[in-house]
Symmetry: C7
Subunit: 217 residues, 7 copies
């Protein structure tokens, strides 16, 4: 029951989605801005865990901050112990284990968030989804939050294993645009990418604008 | 459910609002005085966290005092560790993290308050809102408490990014005046400002009176 | 809900009230004596916290004793640390913080009392009211317990900032007399005062009798 | 609610009463003996706390034993610390504080007893009543348990401040006799007294018989 | 309510009874054997606490075993501390205190047993009854368990203070026989006695048979 | 109530029974095999505690494993302390004490099993039954689980104190056969015995088959 | 009740089954892929515990990960202590003990999974099923999850003790195929085997494809 409550919180969250391309991964999310008074530039729904791994959430923002802190701590511990960056799958697993623990122990409640974890390591580009129950799977492309069912149907039609990161970025934007309420611009979406350089980075508004223009043509 | 209970407490609290100007931030609040017997001069709904950061609340006063003590302690710890004042965003984040923790742990209840945190640091003027769930966002202008929806609509119409602190103060007073029950005077509102000097200060009743006179003209 | 239960207990308690005069503070309370068999001289509803601060309660007597012990301990700690008596506002704040804590933690219940804290320090005469929620405010004059609403209305009409302590004592007695069941005498009310000497003291029955005679004339 | 449950237990307990005389205090109680098979001589409803203080209870006997042990421990601690016997009021206060604590903490229930504490110290003879809520007051004369309301009415009529201990003992016996079911004799009541010698003692059956004979004349 | 549950368990237990004679104490109990398949010789409802004290229970057998272990430990501690055997009243008191504690603390339930504790010390022969609430009294003769009310009426009629132990044993057997279902023999009752030698002992079946024959004559 | 839940679990368990003969003890049990796919040879419902003591259960298998581990640990501790094997009665008592503890403490539930404990020591052959409440008795013959009432009636008719172990084994098998669903063979029952050699052992299927053939003749 | 909740979770899990052959063990499972977007290659429902033991689950995936970590830790501890690999039965027992513990303690809930544990040691090939209650049995062949009842009926008909591992693999695939929704291929099932080499391994998709082709012929 607590899990279902958590899932409802996820499904009310702003849509986010990710696509694993042949040479990288992209994650995008809408930023839900109920009013223009919010300073968009201060909102980061996509966050960096390590140099090579980033993630985006749908659901309860404050819960995300807590899991982000815990994920970073796990990643640091890993690096201290093994003198190399935490692999993407291991990172997603650690997050998922924490989230599982919060479903089985007394005195706490499950996290009200789903996550898309994107990274690039010696196993290539990788995209993981983690849910409140603590389940996690690798995806070629996935979506979480409000319109995630439609977005996944959309992605199924367009996805191919050989998709390039550039195409994936465009596909991700187009998918998000499908269910987008109002006009999409460089300030109300976020895009995070990681390519063969193994550096996860969030695109600047100007870079996002370029992609939007390209698509708009 | 506990969160909803907390939000109801917030919405019964006296209206407060804040505006981020190009060269500073202003926060104002009404002081809810059910009877003239209360000594207005002793009530401070706007409180100083550090030299450069202040905050105002709507909701359960005693809960505010607790979060204020915790916020000040975090700010001191930051200074001890990094030998510089805590940045505004970091300060708001620490407060938000504490409030998130109280939503997820057993044996405690969420805080029955929303906050507007105003400060000025190397990133310029900043205004944050923190809610009982622990969510926090940067705002250009926002309002919390009883008439916050109307106040936000009012602010949306009047806000411009290039607004000066002086104009922001006047706009803040005018917005608060909209939903104000009874006559507004220098004793039943509070105003806190921070400008390029990076000192947060509460205006004296005489200073508030000057602004009120100016507007009244 | 627990808070409402506590407030009901307060509202069933015997009426108490306080008035801040220009040169001192007075607090008075009825002593609820269901039977003449109780030794009136042994009942102290007004208690001394420090040399300069006293308080009276309405509500659950045993809860008052606990908060009194805690208040005294805080006052002693303050003196040990700062080598000067605890200021009145700080004392009221410490009491209020303890009472707030009992509303938010598991395993305890809120205190079933409201308090009037009266003292005189370098900031002059001061009167604070503390409620079960932990809220506290400075008052010019206030009342707690059974007839507190009527008493406050009465006080609003008669209060002036320039009132002298002597007049305040008389006003306090008259206000209490309004809702008093049965004959008021020196044994069924208590009066505590603090003046410019900064010594809080409870009046002796003979002193109270003098005031009553004066009024009776 | 738990307090009400405790009070009901008190009101089902055997009647006890106490009278503070000008030169001493007497407490008396019936011993509820459902059957002659119980060895009356082994039952002590009146117990000694220190040389100078005794008490009697109405309500749940086993709860009384626990509070008796705790009271004795507090009295010993006091003596160790201050090298003089605990004053009666302090002793009653310590007992009351323990009983208050059991009303406010989780994991325990309030004590199902009311107490009459009688003693003689440098402040003269004293009689305190302590209730399950932890409230305690000094009384001239009081009664607890089954017929306590009637007994108090009876005492109100007969009490005078100048009453001697001898008269008080007779009055106490007469009062208890009013609501007594069956024949009163030296084995089914207990009498404890303390006089100017500051020694609390329980009367022997033969001494009680003498008082009963005297009254019977 | 938990106490009432415990009392019901006691009243379903097999009848036990005890008689304090002028020169000793006897306790007897039926052994409830639902089937002849149970090895009667292995059942001991009467147990030895110390050389001089024994006890019998009615109610939940496993609870009895726990209290028996605790009673023995207390008795040993007493001996270690004071270098003499624990007096009977002290032993009963310790047991009663443990049982009281289980009625007032969270996380445990009251013991589902009543006890008759029989012993002989420098105060002579003694018989105590301890109930689930933790109350304990000295009795001349008492009964616990299924038919205890009838048994007590029976005992009241036949008891005299000057009864000898031999007569008491016979009276005890006759009383138990009153409500006994089926034929009484040396295997379905137990008898424990303590006399001026201050050794508590359980009678052997052959000894019991002798008493039964005597009575049968 | 929790105890009743535990007893229901016991009564749904497969029938087990035991007989104490003049020169040994036998315990037998059906193995409930819902499907032939289960590897019968891997199921042991009868388990060895020490060289001389074995036991069988009816009820919740996993609970049995826990009590088995605890029983073995107690038996080892006994041997370490006293340098001799734990006596059968002491072993049953330790198990029963553990099971009692689980009925009275918070945070755990009673064990959902009844046990038959069989052993041979200096007191000869012995058979104990332990129930979820923690009660334990020595039996001449007993049965637990599904058809235990019928089995006990059957045993009452056939039991004699002078029965030899060989006859007891046959009687045990015949009793179990009464309520057996389907054909009984060497794979769907288990037999454990202990004789004057004081070694508890489980019979091999071939040995069981011999007994079954003998009976079948 | 919590156990029933756990069992419902198991019965909603994807079907898994295992067959113990004369010379090895096979376990197979469907992979429930709600969408082709999930990266099948990243999902492992069959996991290795030690070199010689593997297991598959039906039910709540994140719970499985926790039990897997605990199982591996137990296996390592065993090896450290005894310098040899943990036997299969001991491994299943340790897992079952952990799962039992979660049914009896407060503050945690039972695991929402059933397991099939397959291994080969000095006792030959072995297959264990462990359920949420903590029960575990050795099976010749078994099935857990969605269609397990049908699958078990199917297996009962086809199983023989002398089945070879190759035949068992084919039988396992055919059984799984019975209730399979949609087309079965090398990517939507997993197969784990262990043979006389005592190495547990998961078949590669190409190996699975070979078996499927063989069957399809």
């Amino acid at each position: 029951m607590q899990i279902e409550h958590a899932l409802r919180a996820v499904n009310k969250g702003g849509t986010a989605l990710g696509i694993k391309a042949s040479n990288g991964v992209v994650i995008v999310t809408e930023k839900k801005l109920p009013t223009p008074l919010i300073d968009e530039s201060s909102i980061e729904k996509i966050s960096v865990i390590t140099e090579t791994i980033g993630m985006v959430y749908a659901g309860v923002g404050p819960d995300f901050r807590l899991i982000l802190r815990k994920a970073r701590r796990q990643a640091e511990l890993y690096k201290l112990r093994y003198h190399e960056p935490i692999p993407v799958s291991q990172c997603a697993r650690e997050i998922a284990n924490i989230m599982q623990e919060y479903t089985q122990s007394g005195g706490v409640r499950p996290f009200g968030i789903s996550l898309l974890v994107a990274g690039y390591d010696h196993n290539g580009p990788q995209l993981y989804q983690v849910d409140p129950s603590g389940s996690f799977w690798a995806w070629k492309a996935s979506s979480i939050g409000k319109n995630s069912d439609n977005a996944k149907t959309f992605l199924e039609k367009r996805y191919s294993d050989s998709i390039s990161l550039e195409d994936a970025i465009n596909t991700a934007i187009l998918t998000l645009k499908e269910g987008f309420e109002g006009e999409m611009d460089e300030n109300n979406i976020e895009i995070g990418i990681v390519d063969e350089n193994k550096k996860f980075k969030c695109l600047k508004p100007s870079e996002i604008a370029d992609y939007l223009n390209e698509i708009g043509d």
